[in-house]
């Protein structure tokens, strides 16, 4: 059974008198455990696609089934619950709360899941260790490098054991070496069974995914599979070696 299955989803916005179509009749099926890159120029609809897939937004029409559950007609509160349990977001600007320590940031999703303080601590510690930040749990965003902040964000995305990790331009604010490190982390998580969807406009980053879906003008124009590059290996190559 497909983890993500959209059938003819359309998303239109009303802008004054005009109606803008951001997504037009998009049907796609993504299985659990896939590694997918969503590409396209700005305005192609890839961000809207990610928002709909991530249950941040609802399609104007069409069906979206996430893990077999029809979510296109859920209420805002129900969608919040779906995001909390099934989806982990990683953003370009990391989106950590500036006054929160790494530990507190990672605890945030569990706060909304009603997890007890003790379990929160325990699971947040584990998630931070998993992304290689076990030593910096009490640091605030300003005390962390961009790559470290993104690792905190990834730990936050993972902590409720979601079905899918949705990353929107996760390397957009990072230098190229750190970008590859983050991609290596995604590949590592993918190998551990996490479904990873990365939205990017960089071919270099898309090259690390097994499946590449390209958007243009709100439609999928290509859906191809490839042999992904190995980020861990690239890090050892002369180009990226420190």
């Amino acid at each position: 059974m497909a983890l993500i299955e959209t059938t003819g989803i359309t998303r239109t916005y009303r802008m004054g008198a005009e109606t803008v179509t951001a997504l037009s009749d998009v049907s796609i099926s993504i299985d659990e455990g896939e590694s997918l890159a969503v590409m396209g120029p700005s305005g192609s609809g890839k961000s809207t696609f990610m928002n709909v897939i991530g249950c941040l937004d609802r399609p104007t029409s069409g069906s979206y089934r996430l893990a077999g559950e029809e979510v296109s007609s859920l209420t805002k509160a129900e969608l919040a619950g779906v995001r909390n349990r099934r989806i982990g977001f990683v953003f370009q600007q990391f989106n950590l709360l500036s006054r929160a320590t790494a530990l507190a940031s990672v605890e945030l999703p569990m706060l909304y899941a009603g997890v007890s303080l003790r379990e929160r601590r325990e699971r947040a510690t584990r998630a931070l260790t998993r992304v290689g930040l076990g030593e910096r749990m009490d640091h605030r965003p300003l005390e962390l490098s961009g790559g470290q902040q993104q690792r905190v964000a990834i730990a936050r995305a993972l902590v409720n054991d979601p079905k899918v990790l949705l990353a929107d331009e996760p390397t957009g604010a990072l230098d190229s070496k750190t970008s590859i490190e983050i991609v290596a982390l995604f590949q590592e998580l993918h190998e551990q069974g996490v479904t990873v969807i990365i939205v990017t406009h960089e071919e270099d980053i898309a090259a690390y995914s097994r499946r590449v879906v390209r958007f243009l003008d709100g439609r999928i124009v290509s859906d191809t599979r490839q042999e992904p590059r190995n980020a861990a290996a690239d890090l050892k190559s002369p180009r990226h070696a420190a």
Partner: protein, 410 residues
Amino acid sequence: MRLADAVSSSLDALRANALRSFLTMLGIVIGVAAVIAMMAVGGGAREQVNQQIKSLGANLIQVVPGNVTSGGVRLGAGQSSTLTDDDAKAIPLEIPAVQVAAPIVRGSGQIVARGVNWSTGIVGVTSDFFEAREWTIERGREFSPEESARGGQIALLGQTVMRQLFGDDDPIGQEIRVRNVPFTVVGVAEKKGQTMFGSDQDDVVFVPLITARQRVVGANRARTSSVSQIMVKVREGESLSNVENDTRALLRQRHRLQDGQDDDFQIRNLAEISATREQSARTLAMLLAAVAGVSLIVGGIGIMNIMLVSVTERTREIGVRMAVGARPGDIMNQFLIEATTLALIGGAVGVALGVGAAKLVADAAGWPLLVDPTVVASAVVFSGLVGIASGLYPAVRAAHLDPVEALRAG
């Protein structure tokens, strides 16, 4: 989200902007502090007035000679001599609700003892006076009925006079000269303190009524049996106003006043004075409550203002929270709790400041510190309500943000 977690994360948010939070709650702090302080000070002042009224004697009606018109010249109250000993005797006989009616003759003059002199009030009384005023003798004894009737040359001193003339020495048995007439001190009256009008009730010398009239103040009185005042003590549980009416009727009849003719005496009811005081105190309290209401509303508007700014500033944070699973209700609770916490802390700080200020004033003025727990409780509860009311609109606005747009915010 659990309530405890919601409260602790709200506190974190308030702490992150400590100065702003403090300034925001200042409106509530000042409002509540002002109300608590003024209520406590007002309560203390009222309590003091009540004690003073009580010290004058409860259930007391005072009858004083009224203004009479004599050949077109109107004399002021108390200057004529329309009341007599017989009036005073008649009142308890004719009106059963009266416990005792004490006639008084007032005068003033220089008193000399052991070479020290002091100008004071000289009051001629019978032993009924002490019963009417509920005034006990601290040292020595009262006038005996026989002494009262005979007009002995004996005196009871008020505390102030005793201190002025004798200092710490025992005045009992000592001789004093009142307007050059020698008297023997037989007792000292207990301390009564000030009247509500500020005069010292202890600055007085009591002598038997007859003696006062004959030897001290009586010389310039038109009628020898006239009195300056009759104090009527009403029996416990009887109506003061009934006794007042009965007394008026009795005296009009005794003075042979025709219908339509003015009273030639005045009746003063201390309970009325105290009721007037009570009424003005109540008016003051209502005024304070109105001021409190206004300041709390202004404080609430301040909180709402800052919460709206906060929602705008933290739009991205709200987006992030929504992305990781915050429901609209969670976001709403967060801002509501922040606003309510601000208001409650403001209220609590206000109570503390208000009580402190009231204590300073009470200590300085020598009043009892009266902090009404219901006032404190209602101030805190009301601040909480103000917090909820002022946080509601910003909280709803935050909860209705679209997650996608919130995440896009700078």
